[in-house]
Every structure is written in structure tokens, then in C-alpha cells.
Assembly symmetry: D2
Homo-oligomer: 436 residues x 4
């Protein structure tokens, strides 16, 4: 029985590019074959719980704007929230969803009560999943909202907080496994510092390394087959976040011997806030062998905080999916909309329209990327640009078979005087514009 | 015989805090004992060649403003430049200097000629060093100004450029060793990309890894006792620089097995442009065991490019030296002024005054930091904040002797409910203000 | 009778620079004479209500951290809050305080009830003020927190919101006058737009102009003798705020004929977020004749949102007060601490210590600025730099007595070829460092 | 006779969206009718001299990369440069070009010689214009490159520099009139300050005000019919530029009574660097009645300096032209490509391809904007959003016929309690995505 929240909004259908129905897909046809695979299986869309059903619309200068019947800290409200959530998943026809423990259950008066409530809600959700609902792309624990975590979860100066966080993750991993989650995500919202004056970075990094090792060990212990993902983010909420960007997390994983066990969940907005393009973070993770999943959204380039807007710029999204496809596409990962309505978008229909627009933008982007790949539009010129490295002497240098002295002698002897060649950036940008 | 460039400016003397002589030290007394060591031996000041003697005062919208008698691309001018440089080093009484190959010799028509000129100038400089001049803190090769490097040096798509760069570094390492340099620095000015559309990041990183391995091998081969330093920098001149920040370079070193061989030369301005505080980069490098040397300057926080101003904010500089001292102080490293006059500061006296001011600011900062250390002003509260980790169970968690399950069981059993404690940031900031 | 909130903390006393009492002033001696005036009368410190007594410690990723006995939406709690506030004002010995309507009274069920509650609290506060409490530096209305203002107050597409906001300001101005406020402030928290797609900027600016005209009219109507102040701020909370910075607001005032009626309340953090230094905004406002008051705080230069930290960098604060003093000092304005504790600073003592540190930093800064003025340390070189403009022909150009043609003819005739002179920036920076 | 620089590149033709010819237009068909006007007459494209023919490819860390046969400071080279420039204008088929005095003639040894050279080159260029070349969109004087301007042109502390600058502008205005320029532009590259320590902002603003008044007077004197345009820019090259953004310049114009005489030349990159979107600056200028012309380019959002890239993001460009069209389109203004090749784009063909791509992006953008206007896709919902203001009482408030008291009385009396309505931002973003 419907909650009625979405009124008479019907499941969103694909109507093609000429449709002007604001609640129809114009580009996302799940069954369309792209590079030999269904579009749905490429994009693996997930809708998140937190922005859609938990966030009240507040910002640093204003309070709640959304008035939702399920707001409130009771199990009854939690179930109503789940009912509405699964109604929305169904309207959108997405194959996945994502959640934090904190999103689906009210906090209990004790750790044990919180876990019990989580278990009860997991049962409730499991029944909805069985009843034709989407699968779980990933679960995660909220280790940042509660005041106990204000000075860190794994990196807290108080070992009891570390323990509480560890216990909480254990419970969330259990639930994620039970719901057959494809991945388990850690985002270190409070793993960082506000001021070095009261922080011992060396200690805290070691705490964080230990924490992550325990998570990996537990994954193997319980036979969880999903991927452990870390989500990089710079600066916010703390002055410095330890998981700043992909390169930083990679160094961290290497330091603690985890680079074979953990992959990245990369968010567009977090990439931007770290001073990188989204495609940079994706390409780097692919290069380092740690590309896992993406949090799709959009950050205002001119706002220095996490704006989590819905994606709407096709040319940018196309370049992101280009790197995902070049890396072989998603395996356990997918496209999670970590995006929220603007706080003035009050209506239930806004929730649907925002996702419809975002899904269409992603579909257009991925299809453009696929065509570039089919045409070798970018890869052929790339191959040509580096062709000189196929040369035997070049290969010898690269394999470590030449020393500085040998190379210097050859440069002097042969009078090597390399002449630069055009990088053709504008031409390549024009090429991309033929596809988007 | 003097070149006369500095007129009748006398060697700068320490006159104490009450002096109003603009060309006297008010805080930098080289022989003052701080934490059991002479101030000069703590700070290990170096003056750089490039900003002072090479840069013509241009900016993106304007040409040369400085008119220096040594400007010009002849060996005669190069020697005049060296004469003036060593006059300035003497006036300032600094114990070290730094240079790129490109700073001290005009580019030759071929690699061989460039090396021959470098060797000739090295001889010329060596005589000046023997004649009471400062020592060489570090040498380095300019692998970014010439158009041949426009698409990278080690990371160029053309292996001939890689070879040319390798040969150039070989020559510079030779000269650095000959001049008894304390370190050899690599700054990857062109090691990055302008656009991913024409870039294969995986290839380029492997090229860069190979290059650095060859440098380390050559160091050992020739018995160079100094430290190999990499200088991180984000964004400028390319859209993305591979050596973005300390964390990024650390991951890179780990990937290519170089973390025991290479340390960091950390610049204030580069830290800022990467979104970090200077003290963050220093503390992180210390934590990771790769703190080498510093490039002291100041970046305008509101200008998104390298402004390379002289340091002038004592409270900020004090925090930087606090982390240097906490890490044990400099060994082969030192304080290199990678700072330039504003392009309107035309007079020879400006060159002297700028360094005098910068040296005084550093001296004030380091002395304040030393007093904080002596008083345990910050370290005592820090120790107290993490005291809970001395507990046996906490230690067991940290040593990896507890699993998530065991911890979860304990949290549930003992009803652990950690209560947050004040982080006291403002009080600690007030403490620092007592010292600066 | 004391609420007991601050335990046994005594009124803060001046103990001089050698004191290591964390709750004593080391630099702020209210009675010290500076440039012929008491330090207290120069600085005119005010403590704000909102950050200290209203903000729960939340941030975009976390909830309440502070647990205060007065949190809650009843009149009883509001009175307890006022009791504690005035206890803190007394401990700090500040001459002024500031508040929004929303800070001192719970929102009523209707406009009329909200006004009645405000009036009741105004009576309550008035008695505390008479009883030796501080004066009111300024009052203001909160036109941004409530969801009714989500799309603007004066600039709302709904004229009923405009009316509600106007009515609210009327009530706050009445109370400000009753409490003998020295100024009335308007900060346009929601006067801006999230997206131009749904915004008619021309309409909204006209609405805002009309609103401000009505405020000025009402001031005269009721005989309020204080100054009407607008507080510029860029970007946050909306994508674009109409009162971006001093220059923008000046243009706005000119457009609506209000430049003689309204002055600026300038905040350090807002200046920074607009890409300006604090001293720029102060100097510009002074130049334009609209410098009114300041909101003293500190924004992290590397965080793109309002961090509202307590000031702690004396060299920077000294330059700010230099421009205030050069402009003649405050008349109705003062130094309001629009600064908040870090959310981890949980203890009552943190509230006191933060203000003590901030007041000391301001006192050090202002005294350094005063000494620079007495010594003409900056003004004498400035005068010399522009001395050429005293020339008769230069004056004629400036007065508009020369045309382009006449000037061109003179340049050609006299072969004018101006030679640049050193701007001496580093020397001047060194001069400042002698004073701070 | 052709210089041969562009080899066998033919004039670029429109071949339609399916063409894969990299040197054909796919979207820019000059004769296509859009909103009742030829596309060429809407866009009014201009190619600039400086980036294409003067800039050597240097950046702050590297020297010249372009090797052009016309580089050199002789009149012969200047004429060769003009020959090539007009060949490129012809290949591209643009209706306009733009230049600085400094772009077209080598600097003379005196003011008189510089003017004589400018006059000679103006004759040379005039003949090319008569010979089927494009018209002049605007001329301007370079008052920033020469060291004489390092401390400002109009705002220099030395009145002789002011005079020299004034004389130079006079000569450039003469030439612009002679060549029938549609506008005359002033960009205050050095009108700002590096440090307030040596700057008297009040004096300098008055100097600048006087300078601009003289320019306006001279325009009328000589009967120049074009528009005087000021180009806003923040931060670069100086710490603070007086012409920061549209709002700042508007206030400046109002202060000196010039708002009826001067309009804006708005650049995308400058808007971005000021913290605004391009469309914000355009919409604001339109609202204030000072929208003149645009400098089309693209700034990397993550690089804090002027990157001047060719536009390539159609959705963004469409929103810019939407505001141009809403304001009635260009009159004397146009679309000037103030964009430069990346320094690695060495080939003549890159120059052509970059402009072709840029022109196509603009054409797509403008056509999408025009369709949105025809469909009232954005304007109809906008009208509906503000419909409440048509109400009589609302109009009375807006016209100034109601006081705060009257409004407050009505709010209380009628129990006005406005309820927020959805701003529908995501839906509107989806609407735009139907058109781009």
C-alpha cells in the first residue's frame, strides 16, 4: 500500500530525446546496448538514503525547510521513511540504493540498542528488497554526526571512541553482508584535525591504519565478497582530512600494506574541493589499480564547500565516464547519486525530477564516452603521441637498463636536440565536442 | 675588487631589537645559542640565485622591470652575475646558497656546450666559495624553462626529451658533488599535464619513477653523500603537477620503492597552493620520515599562483619551525629563501633589505618555537590529550591484538559510551600568542 | 544571584605581558591611554549573543556538541540565557553587546506573538543593562534562519515575505532604540540567489533598495540617533549575495540614493571570502566615507566558508586597526566579536579564554597601529611617494583643467619619459614588523 | 600575395553537424536566421591580435614556445604580422578584429616615435580593411606591459606616468576613430595596488576617475560614435585591481558621474576569477544598463590566474548568450575571442582549429539560448514565480507608498504567515538540458 507521498507520480519511463515530459527519461533507456552491454549494467545507478530522506534542508545559516511526514526519531517513523524510500526507488527504476546505519534507524540509548534497531530495520528493508526493490550497492556507518565523534572516530584521542567506532562498523558490515551489499564504504568524516596544536598526526594515522586493517580482516573473517571502499575528501568538515584525495589515500594504503585490499569511492565534488578534476581522480585511481565506485554529483566550482548538486553538465560527465569505461567499467561499483535537492526545492516531485535529470545526464555522458571509445577518437591520437617510446633504446631506458651516465654519453655523442611537437589540446577539445 | 653594484652597503650586523637601522639584524644573531645550538646552525640560511639574479621582474602582463648589468647570455655576464651574487651572500653573511644550472651559465648551442659552460662556471664559483663564500645547500637542474620541456622532462611523450633531461641532471649532480653540495633537488616543473585528453598518466608516472630511480642509482655510483630531495608543488605551471604535495609524493616514492632514498624540500607557497598549511606539510613529512629541507617564502593566500614573497608573518613562521625542531631540526637541509622582490622593488638595497627582514622573521619564529619546546607549552597538553592510549586494552587494539568482533563485544558488554572532552583550541592559540 | 554556569571564574583583570594566567589580560588594559584616548574607548569591544549562546556546535556533517542548560524554545530558557550572557559580559568587562531578535526570544506562533516576546525580553535585558551591564552596540533582525526566508527576505518573490521581513525589522528597530543601541545592522543573509534560472535580479535589487529606503525613513521617523549599517558578505549561504563586498554595496547605495544614510559593518571573514584583505575593505570604506563598525574574527584562508574564528594573528589585526585609526577611529561603531568557539571547545572556560585571547590580540594590534601613526612610520613614506602630485601642472590635470589633447601635446613637446622608482614593499613590510 | 604561414588551409566553410572535417564549421552558419537576425549579426565575432600574434607562449616558469617569422621589434616584422593576421581573419571569415597599440607597432624611442609608428601601421591596416578585411570591433592602449606603468598608469604616484598614459590613450582613440572602431576599451591592468603599505587608495581612485572623465570628454570632442567600455578584472596582475567586477565598476562610474557614458566589456575568465559566474556579470550589467560587449574565453575554475582558454562548454556558453539576448543582444558590442592557444599548441593549424571550435561552441550556445527564449522555457516560470508582486498592495510597497509601520500593522492585523514555495531549481536545470 502506497504512503501517498509521491501522489500520482507514475514510474518514470523512457520516452526518447523529443519528449518534453519532465518526468520521463529522454536519454536513459536501461535496455539500450552500449559497447555490448545494457546501459543499466554500465551505469549501475544507486539512490542514496541520506540526502533524500534524512537531510532536513538546513544550511549554516538556516534551519529545516523540508517538511516530511517521516521526520522524527522513532522506529515507526523509520519504517515510514523506508516505505517512501522504496516507493521512490521504484518510481525511478534504479537497480541499487545506499545507506548509513544512522539513516535507517534512530540512534539507541546504548550501543546495543542502536545495533538492535539497525537489525530490525535491516529485516524490514530486506523484505522490501525481496519484494522487487533494488539491491544494495553499499552500506556504511555514520561515524561523524554524533558528538562523540567530534574529535575523530578511528583517530580520536580517546581509545573508547575508537572502540565504539570499531563496534559500529562491525554491526554495519554484518548488515551490509546480510543485505548482499556489493561494497562496504568508509568515509572518514571526522578523521582529520581542526588544529595541529592539539593533534599528533603520527599517532592518528597509525590509529587509522590499524582500524582499516581490522575492517579488512573482518571482511575476510565473515566471508563478505564485496569490495572495501574508502572515499577521499579534503578539508571539510575539518581543516585537514586525512583521506584528502586519491593520491593521498594511495600512499596511506601503501604505508599500511592495504593497497591490494581497498579501493576508492570517488566523488565529483570531493575531487573538485581537492583541486582536481573528477576525471583526474578517476584516471589516477585506474592507473593505481584502485578504482572502485563513484559518487556522482556536482560541486559549484566557486563555493568552497560540499554543494552536492545533481550533475547537469553533459560534457563534464562524459569525460568522467570515459575514464571509467577505459578502466573496464564498474565491477562491484556503480553510480551513486550523492546529490541533494537545493533546500528551496520543497516538493516531492522535485525529488523525482532531480534524479531523472541526473540519470539522463549520466546516460548522455556515458553514451558519448562509448562512442569516443568505439571511434578511438582520443585513444588513437594518444597512441601516436607516445609512439616514440616503442623504440628499442627508449624501452631500454624505461626498463632500467640504462644509467644516467650512459644516457648522458649518448646525448652528447649523438647531439640529441629534441624538438617539441604540438600537443593539439584545442583540436582534441573540438573532437570531444563532436560527441557531446 | 667589488663590482660596485651594492654601493656602500656594509655587511649586515646584528644590532638587537631596538635598532632602527633598516639594514641591520634585530633578531638574527648567528651566534646566539638556542636549544644548545648556534642560531646559524639551526636556520642554515641559503640565498637562491634565480629570483635575485636571473628573474627580470616580468609577470604575465608585463615585461622586465629590473635593469641589471649582468643580464645577457654571455659567459662574461655570467661571471659578473656570480661576482655580484657572492657580494650579496657576503653582505648578508649567509652560510649557504642554491642554484640551477640555468642560473649560472648561458644555455649552449648543444648539450655538450651547455655542460662545458656549466663546468667552467662551477670552477669560477668554486674559487669564490674557497675565498670565504658560503657553501652550497643544494644544486638542481632547470628542466622547465626551455621549450624542449614544454610537455614534460622525465614525463615527456618523446623519449629524446627524457634522455636530454637525464643527461642534464647527470651534469648537475656532478657539479653539485664537486661543489660539495649538501643536497640535490628535483622540482618537476613540467612533470604533469595540461589536459588528460592528450595524456597517458600511467605511462608518465612510470617514466618519472624510472627517472628518479636512475638519479638515486647515480648518487650512489658517484658517492654523493648529500640527500636527494623532491619538491612538491600543485597546479602551476601545469593544470596538474604529479608532485602535488607531500602525501602525493610519499605515495609515489612508495610505489617505486624510493621512500628510503628520497626526502622532501617543502616550500611554504607550494603548501598553500595545495590547500594545506606549511606546518601541515612539515609535520606530515616528519611523520613519514621524509622531511629534508625547506624553501622559505610566503604565498598570498588570495592569489592562486606562486607569489614567492619574503616571509613576514612571525606567528606563522614560528609554527613552521616548531615542527622542524620537533622533528629534530635540519641535518643536510636548511632554510632556502625561495623568495623574490616585488617587481616594483627596483633598488639593490631592496635585495638586501628583503633578505634582512626575512632572516629576522625566521630568527624570531625559530626562537619562539624553541621557547615553546623548552616550556613544553604545546607538547604537555598534547601528551595529556592522548593519555588514554597508554591503557593496556587500548595498546592491544593498536598493536593489532583485537578484532572488530572482540571490540564490539567489549563495547556492548561494558556499555561503553564515550563522552567528548574539550579540544581547547582557543586556549592553545592563546598559548602560542604568549611566545610570538 | 549567579547561574553558576561559569563556576568560580572571576572577572578578568589586566595583569601585564608577563602574566601566564590564561584568564588574565596581558595587553588589554582598558584605561591605558593611546593617542590621547582610553584603550577601551578606542576598541569599543562588543560580545555577540548568537555564537556564544545560541549556536549548538553543529556543522554540515555533525549535530550539537554544546550542552547548555538554556537551550530550548521557552521564555524561561530565554531568560536563563540572558542571565548567563550578562554574567559573561561582566566577567569579560566589555562595554557593549550585540544581538538578533531571534537570539533573545523564542519564535512565536505568529508575528504578533514574536514581537510580544521580543518586547518582554527587551524589558528583561534592559534591567540587566541598568544593573551595570554593557551597552548595546547594535541590534539586528534575523531574516535568514526561518524557512519563510529561504528564497530571500526583502528580495523574496513573494511580497508577503517582504512584508513580514519589513514588519520584523520595524520591531527590532523599536527595541534597538529602546535599549539605546548605537547602531542598527542589516545583514542580507538570504538577499541573493541560488540560481539565475529562477531569479530576476533587476526586480530583486529594486525590492532591496526599497526595503532599505523604508528602514532609513523609519529611523528618522522614530528619531533613532544610531547609524544604519549594512554588512557585506559574498557567496554564502547563497551562490551570490547581493551585498558582496564594500564596493558592491557602495554602488547599490549610490543607485538608491542612500550613500549619505548608510554605513558599513565590515567583517574580516567576509572580506576574505570576497577575495579581499580585511584592511582593503576598511580602507575602501574609509575612502568612500562609509566606514561604520567592524565584526572582528578570522577566516581560515583555505576554507571557502565562514569559519568565524577568534582573531589570533597580531600582525594582521594591527593593519586592520591602522586603517580604522587613520580614518579617525570609531564613532558609533566598535569591535564586535563575531567569532565562535570551535565546536570541540566544550567548556565554559573556553568561552572566556577565547574572548580574552581575542581582546588581547586586538589590543596589541591597535597599540602597534597607534605607534606606527605616532611615528609616521608608513604615512611619511606614503606622502613622499605621491609628492610629485603637488606640482602645479599635476594639480591642473587632477582638477580637470587639462584635456587629453593638451596633455598629449605636452608629453610630445617635453619628451616626457617617466622612469619608475622602487615601491619598497619589502622595506615597508620590515617597518611594520618593527611594531608588531 | 600570401605569406604562406597557413600553408594550404582554405577559408573555413560551414558543413553542418555531421561533418568530421576539423577545419569546418559544424554549427556556425553565418547566414542562418535566429530570432529574425543573421547568426553572424548576433554573434559579431572578433579575433584579437595579442594572443594570436604577439604572445610568445611563455608562462611564469617557461619561455617562448612559438616560433613565428614575425616576432621582432621592427616595422617590417610588424607589417608581416599584419599580413598574417589578416590572412587568418579571412580564413575564419570573422567580421571583426581587435588590437592594442602595442600589438601592431614596435615601441618607439619616444612617445612621438611610438605615435608615428602607430599611425603608419594604422594606414597599413586600413588598406587591408578596405581590401575585404574585417571591421574593427575595438581598439585599446596597452598601459601595462612597459615598466613605466609598473606602479599604475592613471593611478601612478608619478603624474608624468599619468600624463604619458593619457597621451597614449589619446593617440589610440584617434586611430580607433580613423579605423571606424565600434568601441574603445580600457582595461586597467596596472590600476590597482600590490600593497596598501605604499598606496593611497583615495588619491588613486580620484586619479582614475579624472582619467576616465578625460577619455569621455575626448570622445565627444572628436565625435567618436563608438562606445567607451571598461573591462573589469580582479586580482591579477596586482593584489587588488580597482576594476574588480561589474558591481565595483558600476559604483565607480556612479561616483564620478559616468554611468551614462561608459559600458562594460565583460570577460568570462575575469568573472570567474572574481568569484562570479559569467552569466551573473552579464545579467548584472544588463540590469544596471551597462552591458556593452564580451570577451569570450574560458578560465580553468581551479587555476587562480587568467588561463584564457577557448570556450568549449556549450551548456555554459548557452547561459551567457541567454542573458545577452534577453538584454536585447549586442549593439556596438560583439564576441571577442580573448583566448589563446595552450603554449604546447605550436602549429598554425592549431590557431585555426581553436577558433573554429570556439565559434562553433558559441553558435551552438546562442542557438540553444534563442530556442529557450522562443519557447519562454525560462521566462514563463520566472514570470509566474514573481506574480504575487502584481498585487496592488505589493505594488504600493514597491513604489514607496507604504512605511514600515503601515506594513507591520498589516502583518499583525492580517496574521500574515507566508509559506515558502519550491524554487524548482533542478527542474529548471533539466529544462536547460533539453536545449543544449
Amino acid at each position: 500500500m502506497s504512503t501517498g507521498f509521491f501522489g500520482d507520480i507514475k514510474p518514470v519511463a523512457y520516452e526518447g530525446p523529443d519528449s518534453d515530459n519532465p518526468l520521463a527519461f529522454r536519454h536513459y533507456n536501461p535496455d539500450e546496448m552500449v559497447l555490448g552491454k545494457r546501459l543499466e549494467d554500465h551505469l549501475r545507478f544507486a539512490v542514496c538514503y541520506w540526502h533524500n530522506f534524512v537531510w532536513p534542508g538546513n544550511d549554516p545559516f538556516g534551519g529545516q525547510t523540508f517538511e516530511r511526514p517521516w521526520f522524527g526519531e522513532t522506529m515507526e517513523k523509520a519504517k515510514l521513511k523506508a516505505d517512501v524510500a522504496f516507493e521512490m526507488f521504484k518510481i525511478l527504476g534504479v537497480p541499487f540504493f545506499t545507506f548509513h546505519d544512522h539513516d535507517v534507524r534512530p540512534e539507541g540509548a546504548s550501543y546495543a540498542e542502536s545495533v538492535a534497531r539497525l537489525d530490525e530495520m535491516a529485516d524490514y528493508i530486506a523484505r522490501k528488497m525481496e519484494d522487487g526493490g533494488p539491491k544494495l550497492l553499499w552500506g556504511t556507518a555514520n561515524l561523524f554526526s554524533n558528538r562523540r565523534y567530534m574529535a575523530g572516530a578511528a583517530t580520536n584521542p580517546d581509545p573508547d571512541v575508537f572502540a565504539y567506532a570499531a563496534a559500529t562498523v562491525k554491526a554495519c558490515m554484518d548488515v551490509t553482508k546480510r543485505l548482499d551489499g556489493q561494497n562496504y564504504v568508509l568515509w572518514g568524516g571526522r578523521e582529520g584535525y581542526e588544529t595541529l596544536l592539539n593533534t599528533d598526526m603520527g599517532r592518528e594515522l597509525d590509529q587509522l591504519g590499524r582500524f582499516l586493517c581490522m575492517v579488512v580482516d573482518y571482511k575476510h573473517k565473515i566471508g563478505f565478497k564485496g569490495t572495501i571502499l574508502v572515499e577521499p575528501k579534503p578539508q571539510e568538515p575539518t581543516k585537514h582530512q586525512y583521506d584528502y584525495d586519491v593520491a593521498t589515500v594511495y600512499g596511506f594504503l601503501k604505508r599500511y600494506g592495504l593497497e591490494g585490499e581497498v579501493k576508492m569511492n570517488i566523488e565529483q565534488g570531493h575531487a573538485i574541493l581537492a583541486g582536481h578534476s573528477f576525471e583526474h581522480e578517476l584516471a589516477l585511481a585506474a592507473t593505481l589499480g584502485i578504482l572502485g565506485s563513484i559518487d556522482m554529483n556536482r560541486n559549484d566550482y566557486q563555493s568552497g564547500w560540499d554543494t552536492d548538486q545533481f550533475p547537469n553538465n553533459v560534457p563534464e560527465v562524459a569525460l568522467a565516464y570515459y575514464h571509467v569505461l577505459q578502466a573496464g567499467g564498474f565491477t562491484t561499483g556503480g553510480t551513486n547519486f550523492d546529490a541533494k535537492l537545493r533546500r528551496q526545492s520543497l516538493d516531492p516531485e522535485d525529488l523525482i525530477a532531480a534524479h531523472v535529470g541526473g540519470m539522463d545526464v549520466c546516460a548522455r555522458g556515458l553514451k558519448a564516452a562509448a562512442r569516443m571509445i568505439e571511434d578511438k577518437a582520443l585513444s588513437a591520437p594518444l597512441e601516436a603521441r607516445y609512439a616514440g617510446w616503442k623504440d628499442a633504446e627508449a624501452q631500454a631506458m624505461l626498463r632500467g637498463e640504462r644509467t644516467l651516465e650512459e644516457i648522458a654519453a649518448r646525448v652528447a655523442r649523438e647531439g640529441i636536440d629534441p624538438q617539441p611537437r604540438s600537443g593539439q589540446q584545442e583540436k582534441l577539445e573540438n573532437v570531444v565536442n563532436r560527441y557531446v
